[in-house]
């Protein structure tokens, strides 16, 4: 379980999180939706300690991750995997080295075992014969899938997905959603997915949180949010230009 309490964060004069309260249930897939620039990615980075809040509390499995030692924070981070919006692959390494890196650094597996696990992880995300390619030789979709393979490889208890399917074609998008669903069923990890893929994301998420103006507007099951009467949520889900959410 991840709990954010009264979280405030501003960058200069721009308030991004304004008293956010949210509890992410353990072992379930929770989708975070909301208009762009409402602090969804910022919230995700607070969960893993990449950003420090101006005020508020962040707890992972009942333990605060604020003001703790670096080694303790790293121990907590070992429970996490994260897929970044722009994949964040190491551009000085090829695909194989990128995926193998956490295994080489965090486990004592032999080279053969690492090789087998990397190839199998890449096949799981639909990639073959790309091991020797460098990241600038990959398409956006391939980069995301390599990053996904890297995030899933150590079987973390909690996985944070920052827009895992943005910019991908519909078939790959569906395949990745399916992959997240299947691996979740297999390993039972806690997943937090920031996504704009509406309505597709409702098919895989058990819970949906709607963020608006740096606060949690609504939290409920996918069905509850889909049938929400809240005008902001309704407008966002329908993609209508008319309503309380103004573009400018």
């Amino acid at each position: 379980m991840i709990k954010l309490t009264n979280l405030h964060k501003a960058f200069g004069s721009q308030k991004v999180l304004d008293g956010l309260n949210i509890t992410i249930p353990a072992g379930e897939i929770t989708a975070i939706i909301g208009p762009s620039g409402e602090g969804k990615s910022v919230m995700l980075k607070h969960m893993i300690g990449l950003l420090q809040p101006d005020s508020g509390q962040v707890e992972v499995e009942g333990e605060s991750i604020l003001g703790i030692s670096r080694s303790r924070l790293n121990t907590i981070r070992e429970k996490f995997g994260m897929l970044f919006q722009n994949a964040a692959l190491f551009d000085s390494m090829n695909v194989f080295e990128n995926v193998a890196f956490p295994l080489q650094e965090k486990t004592k597996l032999s080279n053969d075992e690492i090789h087998q696990r990397v190839i199998s992880a890449l096949e799981d995300v639909g990639l073959k014969n790309v091991e020797q390619k460098y990241t600038d030789q990959l398409s956006g979709g391939m980069k995301k899938r390599v990053a996904l393979a890297r995030a899933l490889l150590l079987n973390p208890k909690i996985i944070l997905f920052d827009e895992p399917t943005t910019g991908l074609d519909p078939i790959i998008k569906k395949a990745i959603h399916q992959l997240i669903k299947e691996t979740h069923q297999k390993f039972g990890f806690t997943a937090v997915i920031v996504s704009h893929e509406i309505p597709d994301i409702f098919d895989i998420a058990q819970n949906v949180a709607m963020l608006y103006h740096g606060k949690l507007l609504q939290f409920g099951t996918a069905e509850e949010i889909l049938n929400s009467e809240n005008p902001v949520t309704r407008q966002f889900i329908s993609g209508s230009l008319d309503g309380p959410i103004q573009m400018l």
């Binding site: 995997g81 964040a88 692959l89």
Partner: protein
């Protein structure tokens, strides 16, 4: 008036905060060496980048610096009829001062800027964040290997600079201007003592720390986008060069 005080106060606070962050960065980089040792292969890679790949520019700079010293030294010393002291003048200038400083400035221009750009790009493309989310210490993978490599490479490059520079001076002084070759080396051997060499090496060692420290720090805290990295790179080269010259003065006054 109160506005002016506010501006001065804000500026002072920003400077103190930046200095504190820089100091903390250096302390963290050093403690990581002992707390969380990195793999030798990372250090070897950086040694190759900072050291071996800087050799060409060091040879070129050292050769021409020695040759200019040979020319200028000869011109000055002939006024006193002491052109036999040319070897001593060239060697002491290089070993005590020019070798360490010019080597450091060349490495700053060639490798320091590249280090800042590399780490800065890793910062803006979230590669450093990715390391952190894997519970891996970015200092261990990115900073410490560069710091250790710079501390090893700079004294070695400086030694090469000194030798090449001395032969540059010999080429001009002995081969072109006709200074006695025996006097060139004999006088040098008589005048140069171990203290001269060690002070040059101490300088180089500390310049290595400055180069790695500032280059890594500026990249690690680079601003947003390509402009942020470009600004960080410029600041890194300027600040490193200025710090090298300022620190050189203080070290010279202590080591003299």
């Amino acid at each position: 008036m109160s506005n002016l005080f506010q501006v001065i106060g804000n500026f002072s606070l920003a400077v103190i905060s930046e200095l504190g962050r820089m100091g903390w960065f250096l302390i963290n980089s050093f403690t990581t060496i002992f707390r969380n040792p990195c793999r030798p292969v990372f250090i070897l890679k950086q040694l190759s980048f900072l050291g071996a790949k800087s050799l060409f520019v060091i040879f070129l700079t050292a050769g021409f610096t020695g040759m200019v010293l040979g020319l200028q030294g000869y011109y000055t010393l002939t006024k006193f009829g002491s052109e036999g002291m040319l070897g001593t003048a060239v060697a002491l200038s290089l070993i005590r001062e020019l070798g360490p400083v010019l080597t450091a400035l060349m490495v700053t221009g060639r490798a320091g800027s590249a280090i800042t750009a590399e780490i800065g790009i890793m910062r803006i493309t979230e590669q450093i964040d990715a390391l952190e989310t894997m519970a891996l210490d970015p200092y261990k993978y990115l900073i410490t290997p560069k710091l250790i490599a710079a501390m090893i490479a700079l004294p070695l490059l400086c030694a090469i600079f000194d030798v090449v520079g001395i032969y540059g001076g010999w080429l001009v002084g002995v081969k072109l201007l006709g200074v006695n070759p025996g006097a060139y080396f004999y006088e040098m051997e008589k005048a140069v003592v171990w203290r001269d060499v060690s002070s040059g090496m101490i300088k180089s060692f500390s310049f290595g720390i400055i180069i790695a420290w500032i280059s890594c720090y500026k990249g690690y805290y680079a601003g947003h986008g390509a402009e942020g990295v470009s600004k960080a790179t410029t600041e890194s080269v300027v600040l490193t060069s200025v710090l090298i010259l300022v620190w050189d003065y203080f070290l010279t006054s202590v080591l003299l």
